[in-house]
């Protein structure tokens, strides 16, 4: 993955954003912006130039799944790699996310190696 790629991380838990940001930093990914729900994320995505979205699912008012659907329905954003990192671990959630076009799915709690591996896979350098 190009170290200059802009990454948007989305989670309503500020602590989780900080953890993911620090883990990304350990992977030499430092161009990271944050959003605390789907609506804020969508606004940032439309205003910016991001090469990867890493999003939680359970947020209000717009969930991560709804954000994913908006991204895939947007002509400019639809090809953006999108990783869901969530505590939602039911099969139906994974299936719904895949049907909506998720690039990969990480269940919380997760470790740094899983994050590295999934990023590498969706960015095409696994």
């Amino acid at each position: 993955m190009d170290k200059n790629t802009n990454v948007l991380i989305v989670d309503d838990y500020k602590t989780m954003l900080r953890i993911i940001r620090n883990l990304l930093k350990q992977l030499d990914i430092e161009n990271v912006e944050e959003a605390t729900d789907g609506q804020e994320a969508l606004a940032k995505l439309r205003a910016g130039n991001f090469g990867l979205v890493i999003s939680d699912w359970n947020m209000a008012p717009m969930t991560g799944l709804d954000l994913l659907k908006e991204v895939r329905a947007d002509g400019r954003l639809k090809a953006t790699p999108f990783i869901m990192i969530t505590a939602e671990s039911k099969t139906e959630n994974v299936v719904a996310a895949k049907a909506a076009g998720v690039s990969n799915y990480i269940v919380k709690p997760f470790n740094a190696e899983t994050l590295r591996e999934k990023i590498a896979k969706v960015m095409g350098n696994a």
Binding site: T15, L23, E88
Partner: protein
């Protein structure tokens, strides 16, 4: 059958009482053994209903809905706040250690970096526990609503009203409907299961 308030049938308590009186009123002369047993059963039933009403009255539902449950949810919110504060302090320390590792270099820095990574991973507990506590708060509020509905039904002479069902938002998106938070251990699927499931789509 006589109608109660608003033309509705009276609630169960008065109906049972009326039925007992009607049975007793129809009994002229000596009771047979079967009738005596039936009467005893009916009296016992009446006492049970009266005792249940007293026990429900003694529950002091106002305490549950106005004090106990709000207090419990406040305590749970405080737990989330305290764990978030502690987690952020741990993260502060990790960020300091990362800077130290940058100055040390070599194997020691690598070992320190690995340890810091494990701390970051472990700090994810705050998110999971926060979501679990949120589910408990939702459950407490549902219990509060059910208790209030059941008590109202037993204590008032008003017509019976079913307990309020959990609120369903017809406008909820698929993302909202499927958002349930963390599953209990063994109830959800593992990362390996998810990887296999996603691979099946490819």
């Amino acid at each position: 059958m006589p109608l109660g308030k608003g033309g509705q049938p009276p609630p169960d308590g008065p109906r049972i009482e009326a039925a007992v009186r009607a049975v007793l009123g129809s009994m002229a002369g000596d009771l047979t053994a079967v009738e005596a047993a039936l009467l005893a059963e009916l009296e016992g039933l009446g006492r049970t209903v009266a005792r249940a009403k007293q026990e429900i009255a003694s529950l002091r539902v106002d305490d549950i809905t106005q004090s106990h449950i709000p207090s419990a949810t406040d305590e749970l919110d405080a737990i989330v706040g305290h764990t978030a504060q502690a987690t952020n302090e741990i993260l502060d320390c990790c960020e300091v250690l990362e800077k130290v590792a940058g100055r040390i270099g070599g194997e020691e820095a690598a070992a320190l970096g690995d340890a810091i990574t494990r701390i970051y991973e472990a700090c994810g507990f705050q998110d999971i526990t926060g979501q679990r506590i949120g589910k408990v708060v939702t459950a407490l509020k549902a219990i509060e609503a059910r208790v209030a509905a059941v008590t109202e039904r037993f204590m008032a002479d008003a017509p019976a009203r079913p307990a309020a069902p959990p609120p369903v938002d017809p406008t909820a998106t698929e993302g909202r409907r499927l958002a349930e938070g963390p599953q209990l251990p063994g109830a959800g699927v593992s990362q390996a299961d998810i990887d296999r499931l996603l691979a099946d789509f490819d």
